[in-house]
Amino acid sequence: MPDGTFLDATELVLNMGPQHPSTHGVLRVILKLDGEKVIGTECVIGYLHRGIEKIAENRTYAQFAPYVDRMDYVAAVSNGLGYCLAVEKLLGVEVPPRAQAVRVILTELNRIASHLIWLGTHALDVGAITPLFYCMREREEILNIFEKYCGARLTTHAFRIGGLQYETYDTFEEDVRAFCDMFLPRVDEYEELLTGNRIWIGRLRNVGILNAEDCKAYGVTGPLLRAAGVKWDLRKAQPYSGYEQYDFEIPTGTNGDSYDRYLVRIQEMRQSVRIIRQALDGLPGGPIMGKVPKVIKPPVGEVYVSIEAPKGELGYYIVSDGSTQPYRVRVRPPSFVNLQALDKMCRGALVADVVVVIGTIDIVLGEVDR
């Protein structure tokens, strides 16, 4: 007999991605398995790195605005809003109320679109193939509104520094209202398919638990943090773009597991509709562009502005050296920070849970890698 027994092949190293159906893009996760149990993970990122932050140093402030849409491309409007807010703060420009309200409407529509993509793909990962198509059906309506407004559907570049470039189109209000009326029953439809489904609950409950302390330690924000029971939403905590005028709730969970995150995001979609309706009701008239100089040349200084993007806190840190180009732009992407918690959430779980956890973090690799 040989010295060692050949039965000790218990540890298996499995490479998941970058070409894998459910790593949501080009994420590569190296799993160390004991049977089907995960004893460790390692994330390899950077397959979609385009050097967006570096590009910013060679573009003028206005030129760089379309680039931010390419980070979280399913929530391009939010990205644009954050960047515009940051530059406006640097310039000290006041955005007119009408532009603020339209920004809120479009951003909240985009939040719904982002959550719909998340819900569809997450359900697909768990094996339910049908919700994806329902989600896409509703998202289509949102994209149609975007297209009518600014001509683009995905990477919209909807806002400009200082306000909006385009006035809303003629039937904008009717379209958005029709969408809101149509959308709430559709959310009930998704819930009918999933919320009470015992297989769905079995796959999600107590999977990928991340409690409030861990969330804070990792810097995890967004629905993940709220599902852990922390009532933290930048729209309430440090309101921007006139969010202080709107009445809405911050849905929270208790366990911080995947099922709570699912419930939180579903509720957030409903709250978004609530905000959109209020914004439409009080939509002011007036100009849509603030007083922005022809050449954007902010004074020397630095600024950090963060907004509540669909996936969490999206921050822009911009340093100006007084020229027409930023000296440095640093983005704090929610996906990237939230992804750090993957290992913590996967350890001790099964292979099938890894897919659920990746889905529940709601990452977009364009934003992780930039």
Binding site: M1, P2, F6, A9
Partner: protein, 168 residues
Amino acid sequence: MWVDTFFFYLFALVTLAGGVLTVTRRNAVHSAMSLILSLIGVAGLFLLQRAEFLFAVQIVLYVGGIMVLFLFVIMLVNLDQAARMRQFSGQWWLALACVLAVAAQIVYVLSRGSGAFRFARPEPPARGGNVELVADVLFKQYLLPFELASVLLLAAIVGSVIMARKRI
């Protein structure tokens, strides 16, 4: 009748070939597959004897159940090392002696012709195959041994579960 004879030799060949391959293959999975082949050959022989129930049980239990578990274990084992190991022990001369002894017996018996054997002519079974016959014998005549065997198996199952538990 020639159909029966043909199939008898076919199944016998399959059984024997499977058996030989089982012990000679270096790859454990191939060995297991050969054993399955051999078991299927035996099932075929049962079928020729009009013992359909035994045929089905042979397939369901041995081929469909036990051998799958075998394969399951073999697949988890690191085969590269196993394949490199020496497969024959140094006692081939003892094995050869045994084989020769058995062969001599068979040749002796065969040389005495078919008159030396008393074959029990199987009467054509009642309808429903011989399921009822097997059940009758098993549950009436040999009820006690049957139940004892099942208790023994149960004890083995409980024992293996406990032993597996200890390791976890």
